[in-house]
């Protein structure tokens, strides 16, 4: 199991070879409440670190999901398009958003590790 890294905007990213899996954190899904809709990028789109890559809508509002790292989208999670509640049920696993071919693996090192993210959540929660 590879290391999971986190952003201050509550996305997570996990490296699997030259590809990174991206999703929103369990804290993020709790804060959003019931997820009713997600909008995912097209395969082949180049996403840029810190820029909008997807949309997640709860019963109350729409939120942007930012790319934790830059790269080309190689897969999206079709399962959450048909069943957005999967994001609530398993944000860190089955509720992943997209897979991105890493443009620069060094970007990962600049993100928070589990402990730093837990501290951020403790501060905000």
């Amino acid at each position: 199991m590879s290391v999971t890294r986190y952003t201050k905007d509550h996305e997570w990213v996990r490296q699997e070879g030259d590809v990174a899996v991206i999703g929103i954190t369990d804290y993020a899904q709790q804060q959003l409440g019931d997820v009713v809709y997600v909008e995912l990028p097209e395969i082949g789109r180049k996403v840029e670190q810190g820029k909008e890559a997807a949309i997640v809508e709860s019963a109350k509002a729409a939120s942007e999901v930012y790319a934790p790292i830059s790269g080309e989208v190689v897969a999206v999670n079709e399962a959450i398009l048909g069943n957005p509640a999967l994001v609530n049920e398993d944000a860190m696993g089955e509720g992943w958003f997209m897979k991105v071919r890493l443009a620069d693996p060094r970007q990962l090192a600049g993100l928070m590790d589990e402990n730093a993210y837990a501290a951020l959540v403790a501060e905000q929660g």
């Binding site: 019931d34 009713v36 019963a59």
Partner: protein, 372 residues
Amino acid sequence: MPDTADSPPLQHTPLYDLHVARGARIVAFAGYAMPVQYRLGIIAEHLHTRTQAGLFDVSHMGQIMLHGAAAAGALEALVPGDLQALAPGRMRYTLLLNDRGGILDDLIVTRVAGGLMLVVNAARKAADLAHLQARLERSVTIEPRFDRALLALQGPAAAAVLARHAAGVERLPFMSASEVAVAGVPCFVSRSGYTGEDGFEISVAGDDAVALAERLLAEPQVAPIGLGARDSLRLEAGLCLCGHDIDETTTPVEAALTWTIGGRRREAGDFPGAAIILRQLAEGPARKRVGIRPDGRAPAREGTAIRDPEGRPLGHVTSGGFGPSVNAPIAMGYVAAGRAAPGSALSLVVRDVPRPAHVAPLPFVPTRYYRG
């Protein structure tokens, strides 16, 4: 917390501590700290209300008593409803209008012994009170009852649940009200609500509210429901939210609330903005409030631009989100009158992308008011 340093502290209803104890997420709403959801979450709370019974704290709304035999006639000067025809214990939905026929607020008026009881929106209660004080004839005494709490018990199980604590209440007709002891607590109970379901609104002294709420929440069919589900329930039922779907710039005719204009009032033309409203009735309004169903899954929120399929502007969404019982996005908004017929093709511009939608009949789900 959304409360910021330069805004006044949020007010609490008598049930605030109960909300917190039951895991509510608290948000600012109309100057009050209110529960937007509890642990169930908005969708489960919505569906619970449609299948069993939900208890809502709506104590932030304004209860105002108008004392005096002349109250109904006097209030008619400010609203288009036929209030003089209101029998004792009966209630009516009506609108406070400005002199251009625009809607200042929507309210429920009940004929009670000695006058009228009003329930107005939380965000409007200070303004409504000032409006009444400035415009009602002197023989009517205005008594704000903002100390009272208001609970709503809504859903198909509401009548059976409430009857356990107030025998006979299950036979109260829709849109009528009565002094009733609920679990021994003196209450003013009406058969009304804001969800499209059968249900009750229970006015109770602030000091008695927690005990009454706890008794009702102890019933297995009853769950506490927050403002999030209250909003999706009323939207599915096609009911307007004041300040969003109706406001000072929309008339009852544009808002598809023509049914609130009493026949006698229409003939007399003696309500605020009558000249404008009667002309719109005769000629048809330029725009109209309609239900909207996006063809895709993306919700269209308030403020979303509505266009025709060729891209010409038609209006804006005034309420929009996800309808849990419809299991699809739903919205309401104003469109040019020529596009208001159900089935008319629309385009909703969400995140700069035009997305197909169509006009849908209201309500989105069949209402189930008590017709016994």
